[in-house]
C-alpha cells in the first residue's frame, strides 16, 4: 500500500465560545474541543481514533467532514482544500466522503422510508437516474444485509442493528472513497456489534474504502485499524501502527488506556501492572498549561507543567508527545 495521503488535516482548531447573559453577551471563554490537530490518513487504510469521552474525537471527525467548520487550520481531500470550499462546491465534494453515525435511532429521519433515505445521496449526486435509482437502492440494501423488500418501511420498524445497516447503506450510496465511522457500534447490543464491524471490514476490502474509525472501544479499534491515533484533550498524543501501539505504548496516557482493557485470564489479570488514572478529564475550557496530560500523569516531571512537549517520531512510524521520551528514546 503506497502511502498516498487521502485526507490531510493541518493544525485544525475547533473552538466553541461559551457565552453568558442574554442582553450583553459576555464570552466566558472558549472550549477548545480540537486544539491544533494534524493528521494524515492514507488511501486504503483504517485509522483508529481513540480517547475517552469529551476528548474531542467526534468533533475532530465532524470538523474533517466540514459538518462543523474548523475555527482555524486546513483540511484537504487529496489536493482540494475543503476548508476553503463553501456552498455548492463543498456539496459536490461531499460525495467522496460520508459518515456513519453513532446513534442509529437519531440519525435516520423518522418521516422518510428506508428507500427515500438511501436514495437521497444517489439523487443528490446523480449517481443514478430514473428507475436506476430504485435498483441501486435495492442492491445497496442487499449489500449491507437488509431485505430489499423492506424498501417502503420506516426506520422505526427496524431494530438497532438493522438501522445501523440502513445508515451504512446511505453512507455508501454516493460511492464515497472515505468514511468517517463515529462510534458506529457503541449504541448497539454486544451481539450485534461484531456483525456491524465485520460488515465494515468486508465493505472496506470490497469497495477499497478508507476509514476514520472513531471509538472508545479499544478492542473494536484494534480489530478494525491499521494505525491508531490516541487523542487527549483535543489533540493526538500518540500515533502508531495498531500492533505497535498495543505492544509498545509510549505515552503514559496510552499506557493507562491499554491497561484498562481487562484480560480474559484471571491469573494474568492479577499479575499485570495497572496504570490507574486519577481525577477527571480537565475542562477543555481551561486546558492545563504545558503538557495537557500533566495533571493526571503518573510519571510527570517538573517542567511538564510549563512546557508543552512536541509531537515527534521516536520510532519508525511511531510518534508521541511526551517529555519522558525525550530523555530515553524508545
Amino acid at each position: 500500500m503506497a502511502d498516498e495521503a487521502l485526507i490531510t488535516m493541518e493544525d485544525v482548531h475547533v473552538h466553541f465560545p461559551v457565552h453568558c447573559g442574554v442582553l450583553r453577551r459576555k464570552t466566558l471563554g472558549v472550549v477548545r474541543a480540537v486544539d491544533g490537530l494534524s493528521l494524515v490518513i492514507h488511501r486504503g487504510e483504517t485509522l483508529g481514533l481513540v480517547g475517552e469521552s469529551g476528548c474531542g474525537k467526534s468533533t475532530a471527525g465532524r470538523a474533517l467532514l466540514q459538518l462543523i467548520r474548523p475555527t482555524s487550520g486546513r483540511v484537504f481531500f487529496r489536493d482540494t482544500p475543503l476548508t476553503e470550499l463553501r456552498g455548492e462546491g463543498l456539496r459536490r465534494m461531499r460525495r467522496h466522503f460520508q459518515m456513519i453515525f453513532q446513534d442509529p435511532y437519531a440519525s435516520l429521519n423518522p418521516r422518510m422510508t428506508v428507500g427515500a433515505i438511501i436514495a437521497e445521496p444517489i439523487r443528490l449526486h446523480h449517481v443514478a437516474r430514473g428507475s436506476a435509482v430504485q435498483s441501486a437502492v435495492q442492491s445497496l440494501m442487499q449489500r449491507v444485509g437488509l431485505n430489499p423488500r423492506f424498501i417502503r418501511r420506516y426506520p422505526h420498524e427496524f431494530s438497532g442493528g438493522q438501522r445501523q445497516r440502513i445508515g451504512i447503506a446511505r453512507a455508501l450510496a454516493a460511492r464515497p472513497e472515505f468514511l468517517v465511522a463515529d462510534e458506529p457500534t457503541s449504541a448497539l447490543d454486544v451481539s450485534i456489534q461484531a456483525q456491524i464491524l465485520n460488515l465494515l471490514v468486508d465493505l472496506r476490502h470490497e469497495l477499497h474504502l478508507t476509514y476514520l474509525f472513531i471509538s472508545h472501544d479499544l478492542a473494536a479499534v484494534r480489530h478494525m485499524s491499521d494505525r491508531i491515533a490516541v487523542m487527549y484533550l483535543g489533540n493526538v498524543v500518540e500515533l502508531a501502527p495498531a500492533a505497535e501501539i498495543y505492544a509498545h505504548p509510549q505515552h503514559p496516557y496510552t499506557q493507562a488506556l491499554l491497561s484498562a482493557i481487562p484480560i480474559p485470564d484471571p491469573r494474568a489479570e492479577q499479575q499485570r501492572h495497572r496504570t490507574v488514572l486519577h481525577g477527571d478529564l480537565p475542562s477543555p475550557l481551561r486546558p492545563p498549561s504545558g503538557c495537557p496530560f500533566h495533571t493526571r500523569c503518573p510519571v510527570a516531571l517538573a517542567h511538564c507543567a510549563t512546557i508543552a512537549p512536541l509531537f515527534k517520531e521516536y520510532a519508525p512510524k511511531h510518534s508521541a508527545a511526551c517529555h519522558r521520551l525525550e530523555r530515553s528514546p524508545a
Binding site: L67, R94, F101, Q102, Y105, A106, L108, N109, M112, E120
Partner: protein
C-alpha cells in the same frame, strides 16, 4: 433503547388516537359537514331550480344557469333546492317574518331568507378561514424555519419582528389596515393572513431549534443536501404536527375575526351573505326579530366550537404522553 416495532406510520397512529376522542370526532364530522354545506350551497339554497323539464328537455339550471327565454310557467317537473330562496334576492312584502315552514329561520328587514343567507355565508366564512390561515401558515413556516435553522442574527431579527407583531392587538391592526384598503373578501383574507403568521412562526422556530442538533439533520447535510432541502424535506415534516393544531385554532379565530369585522361594518360588503354581516344588520331589530341575531350567532358558535374540538383532539393525539 428499545422501541416498539409497529408497522404503523406516524399519521395512522395519530388518526387512531384522534378517533378515540369522541368530542374531537364530533367536531371533525361537523367541520366536514360545514365544508359540504359550503360546497353544495347553491344546491341547498337558491331561487334557481335544481332540475326541470322545459320545452321537452331536461335541464340542470343550478349547474348550467338558466336557459334563454326561461319561464317557470312553461316548465314541468321543477325541483327546487330545499331552501328555495336566493341569499341576495329581497322581497319587501315579506320582511321580518319569524321562523315558519316557508322561511325556516325567518326573513330579515329586506325580506331575504335568513336560512339561505346562512348557507351561503358558510362558504364565505370557511373560505376566509382556510385561505387566511393558509397564507399565515405559509408565511409563518418559512419565516420560522429560517429563524430556527440559521439562528444568530436571522433569529434575532425574526424574534423581534414576532414580538412587535404580538404587541399589536391584531384585531385593531386589521381595522386600521382596512381603513386604507377596500374591504373585500379577498382583502380581508390577505389582511388576516399577513397578521396571523407570528404564532406559527414561533412554533416552527422552536421545533427547528429542537431538531437542528438531531443526528439525522447532520446526516442529511453530510450526504450533500443544501440548506433548503434540509429545512423543508428533512426538518419540516418532523416539525409540522404542532403547527397543524395551531392552524386548526387559527381557522376558528379567523372566522371569528371576519365575523367581528363584518359586525363592525368593516367586513365584506353588505350584499355578501357573511355571518358577521347578518349579525351586523340585525342589530337594529334585536328587540323585534330575535332570530336575526340568534341564528347566525349559533352558526358562528357551533363552527368555532367544532374547530376548537378538532384542534384539541389533534393536540392530544400528537402528544406521545397521551398514548398508552
Amino acid at each position: 433503547m428499545k422501541r416498539k416495532r409497529s408497522r404503523e406510520s406516524y399519521w395512522r397512529l395519530v388518526w387512531r388516537q384522534f378517533r378515540k376522542n369522541r368530542f374531537a370526532m364530533a367536531g371533525f364530522v361537523l367541520v366536514l359537514a360545514l365544508c359540504a354545506l359550503a360546497v353544495l350551497a347553491p344546491c341547498i339554497a337558491g331561487s334557481v331550480p335544481l332540475v326541470a323539464q322545459w320545452k321537452g328537455r331536461w335541464i340542470v339550471p343550478v349547474w348550467r344557469g338558466l336557459p334563454e327565454g326561461w319561464n317557470v310557467a312553461e316548465a314541468t317537473h321543477v325541483v327546487m333546492p330545499p331552501i328555495p330562496y336566493s341569499p341576495t334576492e329581497y322581497d319587501l312584502q315579506a320582511t321580518l317574518i319569524p321562523p315558519s315552514a316557508a322561511h325556516w329561520f325567518g326573513t330579515d328587514d329586506q325580506g331575504r331568507d335568513v336560512a339561505a343567507r346562512l348557507v351561503h355565508g358558510t362558504k364565505i366564512s370557511l373560505t376566509i378561514g382556510f385561505v387566511a390561515v393558509g397564507l399565515a401558515a405559509a408565511i409563518g413556516i418559512v419565516i420560522g424555519a429560517l429563524a430556527g435553522y440559521y439562528g444568530g442574527w436571522v433569529d434575532i431579527i425574526v424574534s423581534r419582528a414576532i414580538e412587535v407583531m404580538y404587541c399589536f392587538p391584531t384585531f385593531f391592526l386589521i381595522l386600521a389596515v382596512l381603513a386604507f384598503i377596500q374591504p373585500s373578501i379577498y382583502n380581508i383574507m390577505i389582511v388576516i393572513g399577513v397578521t396571523g403568521w407570528p404564532g406559527i412562526a414561533r412554533l416552527i422556530r422552536g421545533e427547528f431549534f429542537k431538531l437542528r442538533d438531531q443526528e439525522f439533520v447532520a446526516a442529511s447535510r453530510v450526504t450533500g443536501a443544501g440548506d433548503l432541502r434540509v429545512m423543508f424535506r428533512h426538518m419540516l415534516p418532523n416539525a409540522i404536527a404542532p403547527v397543524l393544531v395551531s392552524i386548526t385554532f387559527g381557522i376558528a379565530s379567523a372566522i371569528l375575526v371576519e365575523s367581528g369585522l363584518s359586525f363592525l361594518g368593516f367586513g365584506v360588503p353588505p350584499y355578501e351573505p357573511s355571518w358577521g354581516g347578518i349579525l351586523s344588520q340585525s342589530r337594529d331589530f334585536i328587540d323585534i326579530a330575535w332570530w336575526l341575531t340568534v341564528v347566525p350567532g349559533c352558526a358562528i358558535f357551533v363552527t368555532i366550537t367544532a374547530y376548537n374540538l378538532v384542534g384539541e383532539g389533534l393536540r392530544d393525539a400528537i402528544d406521545p404522553r397521551m398514548r398508552e
